[in-house]
């Protein structure tokens, strides 16, 4: 555990060295959130039929997306890992005493955590103090908030498990770019990053609910605003756990089989 704590600390330090980058990143995300909200506001103004999610809930959704972007976007790249796989230096990694899946998982997790920790506070705080109706609102009650934190963290674990597949796929495609593209575009779309899941046409929503992506972002954010009721949220937690365990198990299997191939082929 201590190892992971120090990994986190180093990443935080590195993050703070690039102070302007941190502020610039926050500003970018803030702008993005603002624009999205304005677009939706314009859509909602003359909505003929009442949309399935209220504007207030949508605004919360968008700010949470921006604040916790590191917890949802798949575009995060660990070039070190990519190089390791494509160059074949994986042999060195296999000599480590730790379980490879666990080691990489921890590394990816630390990256996302450290990135989010730096950026979520400014965005959340600023968004909270914006004038109505742009502001981020508090969750309806404490229980909802607790549920939100649980679902968010589970969502993060789920996301890292999904992203492990990204790296595993590179063993097969040997092209980081190719894998990243497919995962990135599809994953982010179905997590609700391009269009919030409740606003998708019904047939598309059905697909989104089957895929694991929405459980990392769309689900926790709607728990927060109360759009998803508390009882539904609890059920959702169990579904998240099921997905998580399934993906972890499949991920380990996949990694082992892919590594076996590497060993058989002589590296």
């Amino acid at each position: 555990m201590k190892v992971y704590a120090s990994i986190l600390k180093i990443r935080l330090l590195i993050g703070m060295q690039y102070r302007s980058a941190a502020w610039a990143g926050v500003a970018t995300q803030f702008f993005w959130g603002f624009i999205s909200i304005m677009v939706f506001k314009a859509f909602y103004e003359f909505a003929a039929v009442t949309p399935p999610i209220s504007l207030k809930e949508l605004i919360t959704y968008i700010w949470l997306q921006q604040a916790f972007l590191a917890f949802i976007m798949l575009w995060f790249r660990d070039n070190e890992l990519f190089d390791l796989i494509t160059s074949g230096n994986i042999a060195y990694e296999l000599c480590r005493p730790t379980d490879l899946y666990g080691f990489w998982y921890a590394k990816l997790l630390a990256q996302r955590l450290s990135s989010a920790l730096l950026r979520c506070y400014p965005i959340l705080i600023l968004a909270f103090f914006l004038p109505k109706p742009y502001n981020l609102t508090l969750p309806p009650n404490v229980l909802t908030f607790i549920l939100f934190v649980i679902t968010l963290l589970l969502g993060l674990l789920l996301l890292v498990a999904i992203s492990m597949f990204l790296y595993i796929s590179v063993f097969i495609t040997l092209s980081p770019m190719g894998s990243l593209l497919i995962f990135g575009v599809l994953g982010e779309f179905f997590a609700g990053l391009i269009i919030p899941v409740p606003l998708m046409p019904l047939w598309l929503q059905k697909i989104a609910y089957v895929l694991p992506f929405r459980w990392t972002a769309d689900f926790p954010f709607r728990v927060y605003s109360g759009h998803i009721t508390q009882s539904d949220a609890v059920i959702g937690v169990f579904i998240q756990l099921v997905y998580l365990l399934a993906l972890l198990w499949l991920g380990k299997l996949a990694l082992n089989s892919v590594l076996k191939r590497v060993v058989v082929q002589g590296g």
């Binding site: 690039y18 102070r19 302007s20 980058a21 502020w23 610039a24 990143g25 500003a27 970018t28 702008f31 993005w32 624009i35 304005m38 677009v39 314009a42 859509f43 909602y44 103004e45 003359f46 909505a47 003929a48 039929v49 949309p51 092209s175 770019m177 190719g178 990243l180 593209l181 575009v185 982010e188 779309f189 391009i194 269009i195 606003l199 998708m200 046409p201 598309l204």
Partner: protein, 260 residues
Amino acid sequence: MNLYFKYLLILFKSQMQYRTSFWLLSIGQFFIPFSVFAGLYFLFERFGQIKGWDFFEVALCFAIIHMAFSLSECFARGFDTFSSLIIKGDFDRVLVRPRSTFLQVLGSKFEFTRIGRLAQSAIVLLWALNNLPIEWSLVKAVTLFFMITSGVLIFTGIYMLAATMCFWTVQGLEVANIFTDGGREMAQYPLNIYHKWVARFFTYVIPFGTVNYLPLLFILGKTNGNEVLYMLTPVLGSLFILPCFLVWQFGVRHYRSTGS
């Protein structure tokens, strides 16, 4: 200029060495705006219209901005990645050659893979134009052309400003993304859907409005008044690049007095 095309040739030869990567990246560059456009499509399916604009009108706006963006990403790539040039110390080499720094940086990179995005926006453009009841005239066609080229110049100007920042610090460059990626995401909708001061900022400071709202109204036949004036509005916007150029020169001077 002739020299610029020679630069492009050598860069093309370089990139062709990595053919698979090129195709993968190009395809990816197609699907990224494609997913954004899909989102747009579904939103219109649900809402029908946005502040009086219908789907195909917004699609036209979308296509124009994305075309301008993709073209500028191709041409101004050297400025976009200028930070790596500075970090590697290769800008010294630029200063030791008897050509303008602008031309050399412009010729230092050309991102051919952005063809993917260009293709996607071209398809959207054709689809939108096909479904819009526009009464075409030479003036309108020229206006469309100006809109795209002015967009390219505006984006290039922003890339230049971001590159100039590198002379002071190579950190915090992400801010430029607010105006390039952010500008694109914002300007893909007609500006009047936004809050007044946003629309004003992006008309008078970073003049996306000149390639977005007024000429768009004109092409769609929703305006009265002098045709030529509407046609020239984008050209006004393209003047944006002139102060950017001056800022670039200022940056080069700073580099030369303080070193790397």
